[in-house]
């Protein structure tokens, strides 16, 4: 069932809270050594999935494998090999950030002193403040430092940067890249697209308790359309407009939406009319992502 390279594999994972079905069959596969983006709107089931992976919640149905173990039964053994950054970090009010980092580190089985010092410096964190004094962003930093200071195989992060400023966000991206370079696998839940776009090797999009798309960025882009703006020497004839499919013509200007795989075909149609200016915009993840938020109609897969 589990191939050697999958660090996380779930099939048909379901979980309900009372009558509310939070997960309706999640199929998620995260390969070793990759950064896997886990995207979806609020309430789609990201945090629930992550909590099942952490053995905090018990799945109702389906199969879950994590680091070749069962997240519920092999909980302590697995947790030595992973670290977690919650989305909503809640610290002990009277305990300093430094104390919290050391506590979580030693409960995980020790942390890398050198790395701890370096991370605190890079994130400009004051470890002597008490939990209740930290802002949201600083609480987030405490959790990030605590997780990254132990050299673990798997990092599970639930919207880790939601309180960070842009400068710290870029530090975070560097640090995750470094962890990946050292061989760590990262599951990164987010709804910040730029973050996922720049970090993730693969993406899974979750909506309403189900994974609706999964693949590399390039694969996901193939499913969406590329925008072509062109200024032509002479206006398009009707046959050419029909060939382009979805096109708007304004005199010599043309704006067309074509499938990513058919950009070459479109060029062949346009070239005879004498291209004087041309921009081809690849689909952004945002297009893809916004579709997740649209009412349930065309795109919601089974």
């Amino acid at each position: 069932m589990v191939t050697g390279s999958a660090v996380i594999e779930t099939e048909g994972l379901t979980k309900s809270y009372g009558t509310f079905q939070a997960l309706k069959g999640v199929d998620l596969r995260v390969e070793r050594g990759q950064v896997h983006g886990f995207l979806g709107p609020n309430g789609a089931g990201k945090s629930t999935t992550i909590r099942v992976l952490l053995g905090l919640l018990r799945a109702d149905g389906g199969t879950v494998r994590l680091l070749d173990g069962d997240p519920w039964d092999d909980v302590t053994e697995l947790h030595r090999r992973l670290a977690y950054v919650p989305g909503d970090v809640s610290l002990w009010p009277g305990m300093t950030g430094g104390e919290a980092i050391d506590l979580l580190g030693s409960l995980r089985g020790g942390l890398d002193e050198h790395r701890r010092t370096e991370l605190i410096e890079r994130f400009e964190l004051d470890p002597t403040k008490r939990g209740r004094q930290y802002s949201k962003g600083n609480r987030q930093k405490v959790a990030i430092v605590a997780a990254l200071a132990s050299n673990v195989e798997l990092l599970i992060m639930d919207e880790p940067t939601s309180g960070l400023d842009p400068l710290m966000e870029s530090v975070f991206q560097d640090v995750v890249q470094e962890a990946k370079a050292e061989g760590a696998t990262v599951l990164l839940s987010s709804h910040i697209l730029a973050e996922a776009e720049s970090l993730a090797d693969k993406l899974s999009l979750i909506r309403d308790g189900r994974i609706v798309e999964s693949g590399t960025l390039a694969e996901l882009r193939d499913h969406t359309s590329t925008t072509i703006h062109a200024v032509l020497g002479r206006p398009l004839d009707s046959a050419a407009v029909a060939a382009l499919g979805d096109a708007q013509v304004d005199g010599s200007r043309v704006t067309a939406q074509v499938e990513s795989t058919r950009v070459g075909d479109a060029m062949e149609v346009l070239t005879p009319f004498g291209i004087s200016s041309l921009t081809v915009t690849p689909p952004s993840l945002e297009h893809l992502f916004l579709r997740l938020y649209e009412p349930d109609d065309t795109d919601a897969g089974p």
Partner: protein, 548 residues
């Protein structure tokens, strides 16, 4: 309305709607306390002989006076009710008012709700004003409800209404005190602790000074003493209520003054930077760290309790000598003085044990609070098995009360053995040790609740409430043995008897083990509490909705 109070009215409305219901249980308990007295009195004490026996029983047990205060007149329904309800009812109302004020001020600041409010069109003092008005209104309502319901159940009109108003008055005074501590404490918990601590000290001081027949002025320096001096059903003095109103106005004024001085989210006591490195490397040390403050505070309280109770035991002959019924019993050979002292000490140490169970249950309930606040989740995401986290806290919850009972028990034993009343030091200490398993049973019940059915954390307190009610009131109400046996403290052997029944400790320890097993199994198997997202709750949500 001045500018600093802008927005008080809508805030008060929202608060009343959301937090008002939290006060309902207090109204219920106090009403039940008072109404049940008038209901059962004629039934249990139908004639004058029974009532005289009750008076004798109460007079012979100074420990009762410590909790309930002076019994001015136990020969009428209303006199009995005001003895049984006045002190406790006021205490409970004050607790309700304190929690209401702290919750609507500091707890909101800690959770961030208040920030949303403070940034809206809202005067600087509006939140404190709304919180104070809510607590004042709720206390007053409690007083009226108690008075009217008691009348309905057969209490006298003026006696019952005055009794109700003493509760309201106590609630008002502690609204004022809570408004001050809410400005001083570093966070909501310390604000609550300070106010509840003040209440506890004043409550014990009142009972103690009454029981040792201290000079009369000692009653008048204690605000709780003022309420005592209204003497419902045996004099009906209304004017001390004016003192209560005056006290709360002054305390509130101090509260508002301090509120204007302090920064949002900070108490008057500013926090210092802490250590950059941690020494807490295990869940066991974390549990100790989290309970460090309460353990220190409670230890001090138990030293005080040990002295107070020890003093009681040494003066037992003075206390009992004035009581005719007891003298007759001794003279008739029905009881020996030594047996009486031994039984008295066992009762005293049971009371110490019940009080010691409170911090134990608090520690267990805190596990749930930590869980709901997402602070257990990061720990469970490390290589910590659930049972180990739970066990660390349970050991503290069982261990701390053990130390408390031994502290107070040793002090009682030392004082008693030095007073030449026929008590050996070893007897006293042994009695304290014998009480400990009964405390464990009560705490273990809360371990079962929080482990297996944490959705109703209030249920964790059932053990404490039952043992308190049964141990203190059971014998007075002539409850049958099977009912008394529900309390684990009933099974504690009296070690000074020739043949103490140690087997009782085995039974309650078996029950303890079952409770612990249920709790650990539950905590290991259930889903941890999750907050899928952080929706606005309560007043913040109402106001946010209204602003759109």
């Amino acid at each position: 309305m001045s500018e600093s109070l802008t927005g008080t009215r809508p805030l008060l409305g929202a608060l009343a709607k959301h937090d008002g219901s939290r006060f309902a249980p207090w109204v219920l308990i106090v009403t039940a306390l008072s109404a049940s007295s008038v209901l059962v009195y004629p039934w249990i004490f139908p004639d004058a002989a029974d009532r005289a026996a009750l008076a004798a029983a109460v007079g012979s047990n100074p420990a009762l006076g410590l909790i309930f205060g002076p019994a001015y007149d136990l020969s009428t329904v209303d006199g009995f009710n005001s003895w049984r309800s006045l002190a406790l009812g006021g205490f409970l109302t004050a607790l309700g008012a304190i929690f209401l004020v702290t919750r609507a001020t500091r707890a909101q600041e800690d959770s961030g709700q208040a920030e949303l409010l403070a940034s809206g069109v809202m005067g600087r003092s509006s939140r404190l004003m709304a919180a104070s008005l809510l607590a004042l209104g709720a206390s007053l309502m409690l007083g009226l409800v108690v008075g009217l319901v008691t009348v309905l159940f057969g209490g006298g009109w003026e006696d019952s209404m005055l009794l109700g108003f003493t509760f309201a008055g106590t609630g008002w005074m502690f609204t004022g005190i809570a408004s001050v501590t809410a400005q001083i404490g570093g966070d909501s918990r310390s604000a609550n602790s300070m106010a509840v601590g003040t209440l506890g000290v004043l409550f014990l001081a009142r009972g103690f000074l009454y029981s040792v027949e201290a000079p009369e002025w000692t009653t008048w320096v204690n605000p709780l003493g003022w309420m005592q001096e209204t003497r419902p059903a045996s004099g009906n003095h209304w004017w001390p209520l004016a003192l209560a109103v005056g006290f709360s106005v002054v305390a509130l004024a101090v509260g508002f003054y301090l509120q204007a001085q302090r920064d949002f989210g900070q108490g008057a006591i500013a926090p210092k930077p802490g250590p950059g490195r941690g020494r807490y490397t295990t869940t066991w040390r974390l549990a100790l760290r989290q309970n460090r403050g309460p353990i220190v505070t409670w230890s001090i309280a138990f030293v005080a309790l040990g002295f107070v109770f020890g003093f009681f035991v040494t003066s037992i002959y003075d206390l009992l000598g004035s009581d005719l019924a007891v003298q007759q019993a001794i003279a008739g050979g029905a009881v020996t003085p030594e047996g009486l002292v031994g039984a008295f000490m066992a009762t005293i140490l049971s009371m110490v044990g019940i009080v010691a169970a409170v911090p134990g249950v608090q520690t267990v309930v805190r596990i749930r609070t930590e869980e709901v606040n997402d602070r257990v989740e990061p720990i469970m995401a490390t290589a910590t098995p659930r049972w180990r986290y739970y066990a660390s806290n349970v050991i503290v919850a069982l261990g701390a009360p053990t130390i408390f009972v031994l502290i107070a028990g040793t002090l009682v034993a030392v004082l008693a053995s030095s007073a030449d009343i026929g008590v050996e030091l070893g007897d006293g200490v042994l009695q304290a040790v014998a009480t400990v398993p009964a405390v464990w049973t009560v705490v273990a019940f809360s371990v079962a609740v929080i482990g297996a059915r944490p959705q109703i954390p209030v249920a964790a307190w059932i053990g404490v409430l039952l043992s308190f009610a049964i141990t203190l009131l059971g014998p007075t109400f002539n409850l049958p043995d099977w009912a008394l046996a529900i309390s684990s403290f009933w099974h504690v052997p009296k070690v000074t008897l020739p043949d103490p029944e140690w087997i009782g400790l085995v039974w309650i320890s078996l029950v303890t083990i079952v409770f612990l097993a249920v709790g650990f199994a539950g905590f290991g198997k259930r889903d941890l509490a999750t907050t899928p997202s952080t929706p606005l709750r309560g007043p913040a949500r109402l106001l946010a909705g209204a602003g759109e």
